[in-house]
Symmetry: C2
Subunit: 214 residues, 2 copies
């Protein structure tokens, strides 16, 4: 199993956490998102993942793109420990928390969007940072409400074992802190983040621990 | 079962297709995204879905947000007809296709983003339209490659029965056509779109057929 990854990619970081939680060995194939105009956009990588995005997981001759699709695949093929809870309604909650990060928050501040803002749209670095912080705060506020006001939240986002939701929460906090977001308004998120940070799997998956870390 | 919906919301449209394909009866509770500064942002709706986004599905006392989480829930609770294929690798492909729309394409052009561009960022209507078309074309190109170059694509996005991927593809085409995208570069998408459009479930779920259609 080979993971096309970039140490600081939030989406790749999600998958690394899931792999580590399940104890799955894999080869890391770094794709540098900034070098050579973005290696993910080059022909070599597009032959692997036509969408030109990281991460992708290669299993035998197949390639799976999209972090959440990869994690669902790992959940189905390596069920222990489970990253989704037992009942359909609980699973729906965990998936909705994950998508609050993966669909509503992260896509608005990722590298290609920021480059488009300062490139074709010609906005200043200050306006770009404001954009990024606005969508980070909007997404984090939504996630905080969904976590803080729900008795199903436990030590982690859902109950007392880590789930798919935590695989998404932790990288999003990493991204928010990188871009100077004050995390004080998000106590539930930060409490869960601290609980996750104690686990070896989350430590191993951290950007600073990757072979391509700079 | 009650669906909080808006006739033109791409994410609500996905869920309506899934409900119709599975033949599940539901009550439609329209939430007007433009009226009163956006009903989805008001206290009444936020008490239902704190994320302030449409759709949400109410089942007994529970509310599920996020279109893909809702459809996975429906798949688990109403398995027939299946909207995900049989093997984990096939399921991964369908989920990745769905997320190519739901995470990589749609979030960059939805209403709140467009309002932020013309509001706080102060861009012209022309620049806003250019933004929207850029991300639509980027997303559609990725989806086209994933569909056109893969023998697993059939009459529909994956094989010869409609899946979660088609629930996402059709509303994205509707959105792209609304904003003037020339669809000629996406023949695989348009062939699948035409196949879906023949099915009564896709016809019933269309924005024009909703009680809140304008």
């Amino acid at each position: 199993m080979k993971l096309y990854t970039y140490f600081r990619s939030s989406a790749a970081y999600r998958v690394r956490i899931a792999l580590a939680l399940k104890g799955i060995a894999y080869d890391a194939a770094p794709v540098h998102l900034l070098r050579n105009g973005g290696e993910q956009l080059g022909d070599a990588y597009r032959a692997i993942n036509p969408a030109g995005l990281v991460p992708a997981l290669e299993v035998d001759a197949n390639v799976i793109g999209q972090s959440l699709a990869i994690i669902e695949y790992l959940e189905e093929t390596y069920p222990q420990p489970p990253l989704l809870p037992a009942t359909p309604m609980q699973r729906a909650r965990v998936r909705a928390l994950a998508l609050t990060v993966a669909a509503d928050t992260h896509p608005l501040g990722n590298l290609r969007v920021l480059k488009h803002l300062t490139g074709p749209l010609g906005v200043t670095e200050e306006v770009k940072l404001g954009w990024q912080q606005h969508w980070l705060r909007t997404g984090l506020s939504a996630l905080e409400s969904l976590l803080a006001d729900d008795p199903r939240t436990g030590r982690y986002s859902h109950g007392d074992t880590p789930t798919l939701a935590d695989c998404c929460l932790v990288p999003q906090v990493f991204g928010a802190q990188r871009f100077g977001i004050d995390m004080a308004p998000y106590p539930a998120i930060m409490r869960i983040h601290a609980a996750c940070a104690e686990l070896p799997a989350f430590q191993q998956a951290h950007p600073s621990q990757q072979p391509d870390a700079e």
